[in-house]
Chain length 242, copies 2
Amino acid sequence: MEPPSIRVSEIFGPTIQGEGVLIGLPTVFVRTGGCDYRCSWCDSLHAVDNRFRGDWQAMSVEQIWEQVSALSGGEPLTVSLSGGNPAIQPLGELIEFGHREGYRFALETQGSVARDWFSTLDTLVLSPKPPSSQMSTDWARFEACLAVAQGRPLTVLKLVVFDDEDYAYAKDAAARYPHLPVYLQPGNHTPPSPDRDDVIVDMTGVMRRMKWLIEKVTQDRWFDARVLPQLHMLLWGNTRGV
Amino acid sequence: MEPPSIRVSEIFGPTIQGEGVLIGLPTVFVRTGGCDYRCSWCDSLHAVDNRFRGDWQAMSVEQIWEQVSALSGGEPLTVSLSGGNPAIQPLGELIEFGHREGYRFALETQGSVARDWFSTLDTLVLSPKPPSSQMSTDWARFEACLAVAQGRPLTVLKLVVFDDEDYAYAKDAAARYPHLPVYLQPGNHTPPSPDRDDVIVDMTGVMRRMKWLIEKVTQDRWFDARVLPQLHMLLWGNTRGV
């Protein structure tokens, strides 16, 4: 039987991971195409919107690996599986293949689709989407993701916060899963357009929201939450592929 | 016997930790006064230079704890012991006292003075100073710090990098202690003056150095080093107390 092919939007790196628990770590990104969500402020529409389906490529594990291996010079590093929602792609074999070569895998998903291969990841970033996204969270599905991970990968919560309502959602999510480390991230109201990546980021707005978030967290005495910006965005704005 | 008093430059927070392994974490900072080093680009001269000795206060554990407790509203959080070189102060009792209240302690030092109470820390950040600092590292003393820590606290290497020579030093330091996680940080050529904190940071220069460092690390395939900026500096420039 042919192994199923994976829908890939882009493969790039190594560059540093810009967000969350692995912030600052050299990483190759495998961004899959397609998503079951459509967040109002999505910053990766080129990997989400079906209009761009023509740019996505059906690739085998071997084809993907050839690129990852070339980008990293064959030296093991962390591969970030992102999207879109990478959980809707069959990534179990890719992870198994990469692990044999000594690579590590992190996956970021909203937690809407659970896959048994989550348990083979090194890091699982669950990023349920707050009200400002216009999406709604199915917590039963989210918990199915936690159940398949079985606490094997380092599992963390990452929450994007634009406003007070999002902040309340983040607090609720953290309270539901007190055992998960929490990473809060100020939202970017000026995401790239899927057609072009030269949309100027409202850096002042992002930094203002970052300071506001720090103030909220410290005033609330939410002392085990981490507040981190999107580092790649501070460095390169909306430019893609870095 | 009176417990020894601690020389304190400032106590402030909670704000987020801006650097290294605990980046983004709400923290109260206890900055001690005095240092056995005098780095060329020191960004805390107000806690280093003896000219400012008059601003430092000899405080008891109870006096310090009163302030930490007030700032955190009595809610346990991470206390960062910084300086100056906090290792030249008698901090063992403070740590013991805070631990009883559920607080956690991180300490950052260049690794020139070893204290047996290092082993009681939660996080030990060893930050040997690269050539651009004009200081020279005594590796035997550095290793004495590792020895007293005995691998009990989470111990990490933090290396500030301004130029190629610093980068080579960082690689050498990391190679000496391959078991220590490594955090690289681009230097700030425009530190605050000790008399005033409104010196404008050359943000473009810092970000350029950050990108250069990312390029070095990825080209070298140094895939387990983390590259992180000073977040507080990006947010608040050289302003003190945040």
